[in-house]
């Protein structure tokens, strides 16, 4: 989002701030004209599991982030459609390639009535990258702030973090390289504020209902572990008058079938995700409530590029070519997921989707080419390959399909090894596998989150592939201030890497779920699947 704020002009800054704030107010109301609201604005939403924590700096999983997004608000936020909107910051500007300045609203308050200033963000960001905090996300988001990486590694003190208060309501963030997507990045609450006095007073106990102080549109009323978390509208929130819901209950139901049963019996308004294989059934049964929007996530199979068989790119290419993604998505998983042929998925900012030229070939031609590639690589029919996946009906179904594709089209035998999730992760991390199931959900809406899956020396690269030419393009793109040029370079890099066939992209995730038709504010374009109760409301029914 372009800010109209200019450091040199206070008048302009105030005017621009007012403009943006005004725009955000109009969006926050969010109830289309003519829609009548229900008398009771209370909602129940299943969150899929118990959150791992309510401490924003420590949050890792989706359930934790969903609730933290209600209790806290960062410099920015994303609205119901997934668009970046002002949060505590009412405007922002990239004043030089490596410096962002955020202008904070002066009416933002903590739930105990304290005002929020730039100092709160400085404290929280330092706490986030502090090795003592040991945040699992420190290496994911911390690297975008100057010295963040070095501080997490214990090489610099936290005071060296590139965040500074220019005045009480102006925060400067220095980055080690140009980060054009900073406004999107700071919508993640790991980089959001926590209330220093509360954290220091209560230590590990600070997130408990009796102690917690947040700055979000909702506050924590009740927390029954493994059962539910109840939130109530916070009267101290700066935009409280535009918040419709008065109560939001998050359930921690893990069993997908139990989740649907609660929906059917009227005790749950929002199913976390439909159990595998049930999408068509519920689509027919609840046509008004069914939703299935694509999200920024990729299902793929990692190929161990160091394995003697997979060292040869021809083998990797042949295996990728013969899997019919259309049948996989339409007949096998049958839940509306989209065929994927590249590491970049539809809808992600910062790069275009890449594909293979053979993706449009008829299957016969693809099979003939794949057979030739295998023969050239010396891989004869009857060769055995090992595939590791974590025990799940869904993954099993996909693997059986892939195995049948390779067996019937190329004569390759697949030995499928089902294992517990943690065992699979360990094997993948140690490179102790030949082929393995893999998946990725974007941390932020930029191509770099997906490129980490295939970049040299990346922690997320299970294949251990490396293309230095592509790496140079990514570096060049990240240094560029021209978004169009950056996009071209990153797309080019993604294309080059995928021509090495390090992995087999299969499907882009969708979120098949049931949401009661009387829940307003649900959008088909929220590709990060991040909703705040602030943007939702109950329609009269």
């Amino acid at each position: 989002m372009n800010s109209r704020w200019n450091m040199k002009s206070t008048v302009k800054a105030i005017a621009a701030g007012a403009l943006l704030a005004g725009a955000s107010l109009a969006m926050a109301a969010n109830v289309p004209t003519g829609v009548q609201l229900h008398a009771s604005q209370e909602m129940v939403r299943n969150n899929g599991s118990e959150p791992d924590t309510l401490d924003p700096a420590l949050a890792e999983g989706v359930p934790a982030n969903n609730i933290i997004r209600e209790l806290f608000e960062g410099l920015t936020a994303t609205d119901g459609t997934g668009k970046v909107v002002p949060g505590v910051a009412e405007s922002w500007k990239q004043v030089d390639p490596k410096t962002w300045v955020f202008k904070l609203r002066n009416n933002a308050k903590w739930s105990n009535g304290d005002g929020i200033s730039a100092a709160d963000f400085i404290y929280s960001m330092r706490r986030f990258v502090d090795p003592k905090t040991a945040s699992e996300y420190a290496s994911t988001f911390g690297i975008f702030i100057l010295n963040g990486k070095e501080i997490t590694a214990g090489k610099l003190p936290v005071t060296e973090l590139g965040v500074k208060a220019l005045d009480a309501y102006t925060l400067e963030i220095k980055t080690p390289f140009p980060v054009g997507f900073m406004p999107d990045l700071v919508s993640n609450l790991q980089l959001g504020p926590v209330h220093k006095a509360t954290v220091e007073k209560f230590g590990k106990e600070w997130t408990k209902p009796a102690n917690i102080v947040g700055n979000g549109a909702f506050s924590l009323k009740d927390w029954q572990v493994n059962s539910k978390i109840v939130l109530a509208k916070s009267p101290s929130y700066w935009d409280a008058k535009n918040v419709q819901l008065t109560k939001m209950t998050y359930l921690a139901v893990e069993d997908g079938n139990a989740d649907v049963k609660l929906f059917e019996s009227g005790e749950n308004d929002w199913v976390y995700q439909l159990p595998p294989g049930t999408y068509d059934k519920y689509k027919a049964q609840y046509p008004k409530d069914i939703h299935n929007a694509p999200m920024l996530g990729l299902r793929y199979y990692s190929l161990n590029n160091a394995d003697p068989v997979f060292k040869d790119v021809r083998v990797r290419k042949a295996l990728s070519m013969v899997i019919d993604r259309d049948i996989l998505s339409q007949r096998v998983t049958a839940d509306g997921q989209v065929a994927a042929y590249g590491v970049i998925v539809n809808g992600v900012a910062g790069a275009d989707v890449t594909t293979y030229d053979w993706a449009t070939w008829p299957m016969d031609k693809r099979v003939a080419e794949a057979k030739k590639l295998l023969a050239d690589a010396g891989v004869a029919p009857g060769t055995k390959l090992k595939f590791a996946y974590n025990t799940s009906e869904y993954h099993k179904k996909m693997a059986i399909f892939a195995a049948s594709e390779w067996k019937t089209k190329l004569g390759i035998d697949l030995e499928m090894e089902a294992m517990e999730f943690k065992v699979l992760i360990k094997k993948r991390n140690d490179g102790d596998y030949q082929m393995a199931r893999n998946g990725w959900i974007a941390d932020y809406n930029d191509a770099t989150t997906f490129l980490t899956l295939v970049q040299c020396d990346s922690d997320q690269n299970a294949q251990k592939n490396c293309n230095r030419k592509a790496e140079a393009l990514i570096d060049e793109g990240n240094q560029s201030l021209d978004p169009a040029k950056r996009k071209t370079l990153l797309t080019q890099a993604a294309k080059i890497i995928m021509e090495d066939y390090p992995m087999i992209p299969l499907l882009q995730y969708t979120v098949p779920r049931l949401v009661k038709s009387y829940v307003g504010g649900y959008s088909a374009t929220n590709s990060m699947d991040r909703y705040r109760a602030k943007d939702l409301y109950i329609i009269k029914h």
Partner: protein
């Protein structure tokens, strides 16, 4: 008898110690750790995490550290539920499991003994077939089948009970899961009670009592019931333990925040402290229940003295 109880309680200490040690070693030998996730953490962050949770120490030091905490009544911090200590998690989940599991086992005992007795007295009659039919159904149908059927009928069709969830021991939320556990437990208890009573009724001392002309009611209540209950008591111990600590399926189907869910999540997430804490708890509960079963034997059978 009190000496016996004291000895049994003392024997519990080495039992718990051995169980913890074996479990500790097994847990750490299992591939994957608490911080292995789809998004691999960097080596630096992993080092920070290991330092925070003392996992950077040699295994024997971690073990001693754990034992020391345990002796002070501290089960440690959970890895999976970062904001809660294991003590807090157990304190929240145990009463839920005890209410559901313990409540159902008490109802099952009364119902199971009653139905088993009727079936034994009316052997090969319609009543017997009916009771045995119910009993076999309870054994044959797994809880993940019966549970959803109960939800379908009572929560979705009839709308007389919630489909699941939990709200501060509200009876509304306890009815269906307790019914499910009771159904399964009654099936076992009823069948054992029937078999046991039939066997007792064919004993010489019952025949003698009948020959003496005692009425059937007196024979049953005064002479047959006590010895017939012995196998039921033996069965009740393990049934009660599994109903309280391992009702994983029931908890999952009805989304109940009990111990079973904690055990499952703890093991799946390599939450070392949580799993060990629950193992300690289950061990203590098992030993205590076994002791109670043994003491009940003495009450029922005059030949048994401690």
């Amino acid at each position: 008898m009190w000496t016996y109880v004291f000895r049994r309680v003392l024997a519990m200490i080495p039992t718990v110690f051995v169980v913890i040690t074996v479990c500790y070693l097994l847990l750490h030998a299992t591939p994957g750790g608490p911080f292995d996730s789809e998004r691999k953490v960097s080596a630096v962050v992993l080092a920070n995490l290991n330092a925070k949770y003392h996992l950077d120490l040699p295994l024997w030091q971690q073990y001693l550290y754990y034992l020391n905490s345990l002796l002070h009544g501290d089960l440690g911090a959970s890895f999976r539920y970062e904001d809660w200590s294991v003590n807090e998690l157990v304190a929240k989940a145990l009463p839920v499991s005890a209410a559901i599991g313990g409540g159902s086992i008490l109802i099952s005992l009364v119902l199971g003994v009653f139905l088993g007795t009727i079936a034994a007295l009316r052997q090969n009659s319609v009543v017997d077939y009916l009771v045995m039919g119910i009993s076999n159904a309870g054994t044959a149908f797994p809880s993940f089948v019966i549970g959803p059927v109960l939800i379908l009928v009572f929560a979705i069709w009839l709308k007389v009970a919630p489909a699941g969830g939990w709200d501060a021991f509200s009876p509304r939320y306890m009815v269906l899961p307790m019914s499910l556990l009771t159904f399964i437990n009654v099936a076992s208890i009823g069948r054992v009670m029937r078999g046991s009573l039939i066997e007792v009724l064919h004993s010489n001392f019952i025949r003698t009592a009948r020959a003496k002309g005692l009425p059937m009611r007196v024979i049953i209540l005064r002479h047959a019931l006590k010895p017939a209950l012995l196998p039921v008591v033996s069965l009740t111990g393990p049934l009660a333990i599994s109903s309280i600590t391992a009702a994983v399926v029931t908890e999952s189907v009805f989304s109940i925040p009990g111990l079973g869910k904690l055990i499952l999540n703890g093991a799946g997430n390599r939450d070392y402290t949580l799993v060990l804490g629950l193992v300690v708890l289950v061990t203590v509960i098992t030993v205590v229940f076994n002791l109670l079963v043994d003491l009940t034997y003495a009450l029922l059978d005059p030949k048994i003295r401690y």
